[in-house]
Amino acid sequence: MIPLQEFQKRPRVLTVGGGLTALEAASQLIHFGYEVLLACPEMDMEKVNSLLPGERGLPDYARNLAERLGAHGKFSFFPETRVNAVDGFAGDFQVRLTSIQKEWNESVGAIILAPELVPEQKCSACLPASSRQIISLDRLVEELSSPPAAPGVVASLKSHSYAAFLVGLTGSGGVADMAQALEAAIAIRNRLEAQVYFFSGNIKVAEEGLERLYQECREAGVVFFKFDNERPEFVRDGDRVTLQFRDPLLGQPFELTPDLLVIDSGHTLTAEMQSLAHSAQLGLDRSGYLQPGNVHFWPYGLQRTGIFAAGAAKGPQMASAAIEEGRGAALAVHQFFQGPPLEPMDREVWVDKGLCTVCLTCLRFCPHQAIGWTHRVFIHPLACRRCGICAGECPMDAIQIAGYSDPEVENRLADISALWEKEAAGDPKFIVFGCRRSAGVAWEEAHSLKLIAESQVEFIGLPCAGKVDLDFLLKALSIGADGVLVLACPEENCRSLHGNTYARERIAEAQDYLEEAGIDSQRVRFETLSSNRVWVLKDVLTDFGKKIREL
């Protein structure tokens, strides 16, 4: 093993972002006594306050925060600086920073990613070429916040005009967009006495004050059209765009040629941040925000220990949540530094020096980037989350995990074989391998409720379904099991991100081998199961038992 003193927790934190979340996180970390580096990808400190439209009082807060921080000895500020690459492990990252003048490395113990989002015009593709009638929500908000006499689309409208808002119909449309749109709708209604029609998917009100705002809109006479799957069609006639749609409640087709058509813009991570997330293997969720859509990482975690995501980077949010997010992320970092000390882990996870050929399969498969190599492979004690995917993948079986090592599983199989020999033949015998966090929990519950009808079924828990080894499956069959079932967490719900996918792929591989050897591949089956679906487990077992009987 690498000597422990070579791993360390540097009490230095890199915070990336130019908004209030990043500022607040930096300020809290200084308060906790860490050295803080703040890299703002785009803007300088003075512009920070202009980032927070619509929340009175917050710009001042941000300005004060920035001034206080700037004077602190443990604080370094890097304006217009991007993070290009992240190397190393939790507690000791090497980051590559680039500004206009230079490119350099810094060593930090933890990283908070709290970048602001940039507007994206989602609807340009779905609309006919833009017309004077159409305006993006961002621009409308800008116009509404400037004096009423200022020239612009709003100023050119007559009173009692017809306005239509399209929100969240072309993308996800989060609460922040919804709040902006509702505020703008009510402003247009009041300022121009306009007839306002609001077309959207689900009205999102799960944020402070939004329900009230929605109610105010209704009282003011804004009419809402809520669509499930369809959305209005755009019919273009010269310079005018007409919306055609069916009212979901009446089933009656309507049309409207609004004098003003407002379309929400949507917000995304900058391209640089997206490529950093990709190169540092942090993963993005389906909508392209940081933190993969996986509840196990909430609220600030990512799949790499020591790197945290905060604020709008995880999806558009209300400005009022920015401070809370910053503080939360700072606490998460503090918790990481205060958390489990660096301890040798060779009794938990070990790499057999004699067997390892440094093929680095483990390094490529580790979802947590916990594996490094010098002249041989080592596993970082802080970054490793003990999922065992590396051990499952290792072609030499050089990596072993305590409790789930090859000899231990083999012993368990031998015990099962002895047990089966004692019992009379009859029911099909099969072995279930499963993630102890999902299938394991379901199994225990099914057992205590006496739901398992099959008499000769044995369960072997694994730290993650991704640990399942080809050898395990074949050995299970060789000791007399009539079938082997592998249960993994449902898709996008694996704590180690891809453990379930790897397990599925390995089962498919095993099935190929079985076919080749002339054994029916249906004797090995892969299923997904979450911990609370005890009844599904019962059905899966019964169904598998039935299949095995047929064979």
Partner: protein
């Protein structure tokens, strides 16, 4: 169904309903449909659908709505009103709509006949010798048709 231009409807209709007694909260409806789900009339006569009626108000379909005969199907059991999470007093809204329809002369002919009956005898059903004999057997006093108060009320409109 023919496509309707929203601009040809009357967007102020909802505000006018809101000004009627009992119609104040009509604009807060978010179309959850509890009123329709619990309405006993809707079970027999699906045309009468409180949620759809509110939707027609909000969209300003005044003409189409006020001439509908189903406005008069409501039995005023108040179930919708009792179960509305948004405080829409729908039974009161129905009264408001009926009043508006009457003002426009859109009430169905049957309603006029009923009004005449009330004017003439003070009751929807005439009390004759048969009913009075029954009352006598039960020790109740005889009833005479006396439309005075109703006449006063109904002729005002």
């Amino acid at each position: 169904m023919e496509r309707i231009d929203l601009k040809k409807l009357d967007p102020d209709f909802k505000h006018r309903v809101a000004q009627e007694l009992g119609g104040e909260h009509i604009r807060t409806c978010y179309a959850c449909g509890v009123c329709s789900a619990r309405c006993p009339i809707e079970k027999i006569e699906p045309e009468y659908n409180p949620r759809k009626i509110i939707r027609m108000i909000l969209l300003g379909m005044e003409e189409a709505l006020l001439k509908e005969e189903f406005l008069w199907h409501c039995s005023t059991c108040y179930t919708c009103q009792e179960s509305c999470p948004q405080g829409v007093n729908f039974t009161e809204v129905i009264f408001a709509l009926r009043n508006m329809a009457v003002r426009k002369g859109l009430a169905p002919a049957g309603m006029g006949a009923a009004q005449n009956l009330l004017c003439r005898q003070g009751r929807m059903y005439e009390v004759g010798d048969f009913e009075n004999e029954k009352r006598q057997e039960m020790g109740l006093p005889k009833i005479k048709s006396d439309p005075k108060d109703y006449k006063h009320l109904l002729e005002k409109e």
